[in-house]
Symmetry: C2
Amino acid sequence: MTDQNKFLLDENEMPKKWYNVNADLPRPLSPPLHPLTLQPVGPQDLAPLFPMELIKQEMSPERYIDIPGEIRDILAIWRPTPLIRARRLEKRLNTPARIYYKWEGVSPAGSHKPNTAVAQAYYNKKEGIERLATETGAGQWGSSLAFACKLFELECMVYMVKCSYDSKPYRRILMETWGAKVVASPSNLTDAGKAMLKKDPKCSGSLGLAISEAVEDTIKHENTHYSLGSVLNHVILHQSIIGQESKLQLKKAGEEKADVVIGCVGGGSNFGGMSFPFLMDKLQGRNKDLRAIAVEPMACPSLTKGVYAYDFGDTAKMAPVVKMHTLGHDFMPEPIHAGGLRYHGMSPQVSLLVDAGVIEAQAYHQREVFEAAQVFAETEGYVVAPESAHAIKAVIEEAKNCARSGEEKVIVFNNSGHGNFDMTAYDQFLHGKLVDYEYPVELVRQSLKNLPKVK
Amino acid sequence: MTDQNKFLLDENEMPKKWYNVNADLPRPLSPPLHPLTLQPVGPQDLAPLFPMELIKQEMSPERYIDIPGEIRDILAIWRPTPLIRARRLEKRLNTPARIYYKWEGVSPAGSHKPNTAVAQAYYNKKEGIERLATETGAGQWGSSLAFACKLFELECMVYMVKCSYDSKPYRRILMETWGAKVVASPSNLTDAGKAMLKKDPKCSGSLGLAISEAVEDTIKHENTHYSLGSVLNHVILHQSIIGQESKLQLKKAGEEKADVVIGCVGGGSNFGGMSFPFLMDKLQGRNKDLRAIAVEPMACPSLTKGVYAYDFGDTAKMAPVVKMHTLGHDFMPEPIHAGGLRYHGMSPQVSLLVDAGVIEAQAYHQREVFEAAQVFAETEGYVVAPESAHAIKAVIEEAKNCARSGEEKVIVFNNSGHGNFDMTAYDQFLHGKLVDYEYPVELVRQSLKNLPKVK
């Protein structure tokens, strides 16, 4: 064991291929369906939304896919990101566990999201697209795509979930600094937005609705594609660079293997990007005892309380229908501060692995999550995003278990982003104004009645 | 030449000693004077404010001073910081110059300031001090000291310049998250603050006044010391880790030497920390052609428009009197967004080197500075602090000169912090609402009449 605190990789040690978990899943994914016909979609059905190279990646069975040099060149501004041993947190918890965090907050946009934003902008630019439309919750994805679009000289249109638009003006300004156009969702720019505003003028928005607006915008504009920051296979593929780097860095730290890998889940890309390269070993019959824990908010608990079924990816039923853990596409989560986790559905890959018992899931309330974030800030220094704080809460629980059992587990988690744009939430937490939302049993029951009837 | 973008150092390559430019100055510094007697101060005069170890460092003629392991352990959370080749900026400027930036924005507080905050908290803790009082402009220093105090379990009291307190609530919350108490300066907690509020109830504050409040607070509280984030020799000593790392990293990049080193200056510590280890070579007769450029705001241009004379470090004449470039301790700068550069004086070391012709100085208006910051964000991705953007403006001018002359200069600058807490300023810039303040000739003339009469 080394006494170092931080484990770095040189630029030329950055992975040259993405890892595709499709090659190692215990059973194949159920095919995505067309939202109108509910029949399996082919590449041509997706072509109005995505460039063909991403559609190929979405459906690819290949275990490894080359990362183009142009993408690696841009990622190298901040990648490889550091893996840091959380020695002060360990000490505070008096745990024999060894805790490592992958620190994705060093990117220009402040989170892991640019890993896929840069790739998506690249493939769209290469196909002659001039404009990308997208949605964003807390703004981490929107700012990442704005950044990537600026580097590739693409226009960027962002539908930002209204409760985040109102509470996080700095994220909006950041996107605008990178040249993006940002509107609050529901907006008056789309039929989906107008319909919701008519129904509920005070609607605080949701990721599902913002996706509908961005998809509608895409279809109605020329030379425009849609870009999604999570959920889809190709997004998690691009994020696999996180887990691959972490494995190399753990080796440098003198660790033979990880025992527990932890990440927060909204759509699943930061968790999948971190855990899938580790889970590859488990799925291939090595490191069989590895546990992977997906952590979600109690206010939007798709993995722990949802059903595993075909559902629409968005509120207005325009996005493909996929088999996933879902609370129903009509479900409108409470305006918790972890805006990036307010999604009714889940990555089909993560969902399948949870259903197959390969991945565990946990849900926490936002007050206990912010308590964990403060412990982290007081020990490790970094003030993290509310999303990432969900992972920290689970890490602390695991480490406390180790303190009780005496087990020297190696716990690795994805610290997916900084909280510099979430200070209002910290302010509310510090002044006892943070509200915990109970899981809305009845709302979800109603919402689940509207799942598509797939034969 | 390598085709890499980013040059890292491993944790064990972090400098083990600080570099003290006092050993290489062309002539000795003039001694600091007592604010009441105007006689040279001895260590005992400074003991009510600082721990003895820092006082020794302040006056030390030694070229190198060991960095204690406890300090290095904490710095290793984020240090060594990356040195990044700004290839996209070079391309945009069509310059043959090679531009490198040292990226200090990766620290928990988001700037270079924790380099000295951790050291200061450490020495105070070791001497049995329980509470530190300080001032902050934009909040970068205050948040850094709050962070450091939390790690060493010290109380932290921050007087935050009012115009920043009002425009940067997120910085205040960040400090509070790390457990600090923060008040707007001028405050009602000190005589200095009360006197100013009586004179001008709408006073937007200044660093000089906030220093007075923190010094008064220190003297009136038990077990309390004062902590300064710039100006003083020991602060720049702690920041010398930046320039030392950069020199090692430039070697890794295949560069024999730097031609131009650039940093912004408020009190001088980020510029001194970056440039002094490079200037050592020049002062010792090697790399004689090296240029070092200190960049300041036109609204507070101590180096380019001030006088080189003895002056008080603070408005209320409680801090030591030092020989430096000054606009007069009564000078109240306009509320520009680069709050960290709103200081009437300057580091005595930087001042002496400017006076001796070793260092150059330049001043820019804030609009052209934000234009430079936007070019940087559009090419290199990072949205930087308004302070750091001053350095970028000077870098762009140098690189354009190279484009005209064809010179392949190596330009290195300290990118001292991120702009995540400065989004209001970017918003104003993007919407054409940013104001340029002319250099206030008459105000400075008046202020300079009040310099202390030193024999």
